[in-house]
């Protein structure tokens, strides 16, 4: 069992009791209407908002446990997030965006760049390295965001509506790419989506909000 979350997540007035566990190679889909708190789960696991109570564990390491005042800072968790609103760094080139996490973890510059290039090739953006996020299409930005997360080789991959910020034309391309990327991914994945078709295509288990 790789990732397990048993407790209450919440933001502001909103609270929800959860008991989930995701094994290696498994994709847990969380579905539900907008505003039902799906993103809150993602942000809690990523360490951007605190767990209200209970326990969050990965690979036997406790990330959050309010009862014992255990908190692992966001940057020290072996997870990577693809945000719903993408959040690329607008002032950096595409390749620097992808390499950011590696550089932040202390990987040497040339190695970080070459690994980033490999990842960009895998998401089909081979010659995009020097472009700026504002100069590429929404679908391409989403691919960069995927590469930026996957290049870290995280144990936990958190995908927040990876297809929602994308126009219909690029969506079909991403629909083909995502299963390919996920099947090659060894860790646990949590996918948030409100689209039953995506869930059908990608998930090995589903949690209805």
């Amino acid at each position: 069992m790789t990732l397990s979350l048993n407790g209450i997540v919440g933001r502001g007035e909103f609270e929800r009791m959860l008991d989930i566990s995701v094994a290696d190679g498994e994709v847990l889909a969380i579905t539900g209407p907008n505003g039902s708190g799906k993103s809150t789960v993602i942000h809690t696991i990523a360490g951007l908002i605190p767990l209200r109570s209970g326990k969050l564990q990965s690979d036997g390491t406790t990330w959050d446990e309010p009862a014992t005042n255990t908190w692992i800072a966001s940057e020290n968790r072996t997870c990577a997030v693809v945000f719903q609103d993408i959040r690329l760094f607008a002032h950096m080139s595409v390749i620097s965006n992808v390499a950011y996490g590696l550089r932040a973890r202390g990987v040497r510059k040339d190695e970080a760049l070459s690994r980033s290039e490999t990842l960009l090739a895998r998401v089909g953006l081979t010659s995009f390295g020097n472009r700026r996020p504002n100069d590429i299409s929404g679908g391409e930005r989403q691919r960069v965001a995927l590469a930026r997360a996957l290049v870290l080789e995280p144990r936990v991959l958190l995908l927040d509506e990876p297809l929602s910020a994308v126009d219909a034309a690029s969506r079909s391309g991403l629909r083909e790419l995502l299963p390919e990327l996920l099947s090659g991914f060894a860790g646990s994945t949590i996918l948030v989506s409100h689209d039953p078709a995506d869930v059908e295509a990608l998930a090995s288990a589903t949690l209805q909000f």
Binding site: A46, G47, L48, A73, S74, E75, N76, C79, A80, V81, F83, D85, R87, F89, H91, M92, Y100, G101, R103, A104, R105, R148, A149, L152
Partner: protein, 327 residues
């Protein structure tokens, strides 16, 4: 067709009604416009007046008013009279540059500290402290500079000269270290640092929190998030703040007058005694100036005014640019 015509008639009538202002409104407009124009006039007049009064000097001295380094005579007939402000112009620039070079890195770091390393309540207190530090009158900074900073800074200058004297900037022709551009620049640095710090902090505070949390979620520590997100985002704000500080330093009078040995000479050895800026020169000379010399001082004032104005305009432009970017 008939119906359409009626509708537009009504509309026209309405519009006319709206445009006929009642008398009280016309009076109100008159008062407000007059007030605005009076302030416009007062402020615009200064620039025009300085230029017109100084014009005779610009005409008489030509370009040597800027490039010359002699200030002699009263303009009485038969007396050789030359006015050139080069030493003081250079002095203004050297003093302000020393100030900005010292203040900028410290201010940016302090802004980062206040914005990203402090709890909200401490942050609020420190922001008030910044405002207050920016409001301390320059005569008090001058007093403090003379009695508290200068004795210590002279020691530092001696050590600097001891270590780096081979470098032309830190060379001194004779062992006199008091009242140097270095010390004057340090006092200016203390004075402008609050301005740079608050502008930089304000820009940093507009860094999108989404981007910072994205940086953390990808494994970035605090420094990494600052280095790759906050600093690039705030770059133009930092430059703008530095320019605003530069503008303030360029026009400073009293602090320089009290701390620096005002000497009418071009001094590029920043550790060596004696320097001055245009503002302090005006304060020094106006009392005993002849009518013609007053015109020369007005011309110098115009040069200072134009220079500061250009720096400030540029600074405002850059700060606004970064504000628009974040909006």
């Amino acid at each position: 067709m008939r119906v359409w015509g009626t509708v537009s008639d009504v509309a026209v009538q309405r519009r006319e009604l709206k445009f006929k202002k009642p008398g009280i409104d016309r009076f109100f407009h008159f008062v407000v416009t007059t007030g605005a124009l009076v302030s416009l006039l007062v402020l615009g007049l200064i620039a025009v007046f300085l230029f017109l009064r100084g014009f005779q000097i610009f005409k008489d001295m030509g370009l040597s008013f800027i490039t010359g380094s002699l200030w002699e005579g009263t303009g009485a007939p038969g007396e050789p009279t030359t006015y050139g402000i080069a030493p003081m112009l250079v002095g203004s620039i050297v003093l302000s540059l020393v100030a900005v070079v010292i203040a900028l890195p410290l201010s940016v770091a302090a802004a980062l500290f206040i914005e990203f390393y402090t709890a909200p309540r401490l942050k609020k207190f420190l922001v008030s402290l910044l405002d207050l530090a920016a409001a301390i009158p320059s005569v008090i900074y001058g007093l403090w500079g003379f009695f508290i900073l200068a004795p210590r800074a002279t020691e530092w200058a001696i050590s600097l000269n001891h270590l780096f004297g081979w470098f032309p900037l830190f060379h001194v022709p004779a062992p006199f270290f008091d009242g140097s551009p270095f010390i004057g620049g340090m006092v200016l640095a203390v004075m402008i640092a609050p301005i740079i710090t608050s502008v930089a902090r304000e820009v940093f505070s507009q860094t999108p929190p989404d981007q910072i949390s994205a940086a953390h979620a990808l494994g970035g520590r605090k420094w990494s998030a600052i280095r790759y997100v906050a600093l690039p985002f705030g770059r133009s704000g930092i430059i703008g703040g530095a320019m605003l500080g530069l503008g303030r330093a360029l026009g400073e009078t009293v602090a320089i007058y009290l701390v620096v040995n005002i000497a009418f000479k071009t001094n590029l050895n920043i550790l060596f005694t004696g320097s001055g800026n245009i503002a302090s020169m005006i304060a020094l000379k106006f009392g005993e100036a002849s009518q013609y010399e007053v015109k020369a001082l007005l011309a110098a004032g115009f040069v200072l005014f134009a220079f500061t104005l250009a720096v400030n305009m540029f600074a405002t432009y850059i700060v606004n640019l970064s504000k628009r970017k974040s909006a």
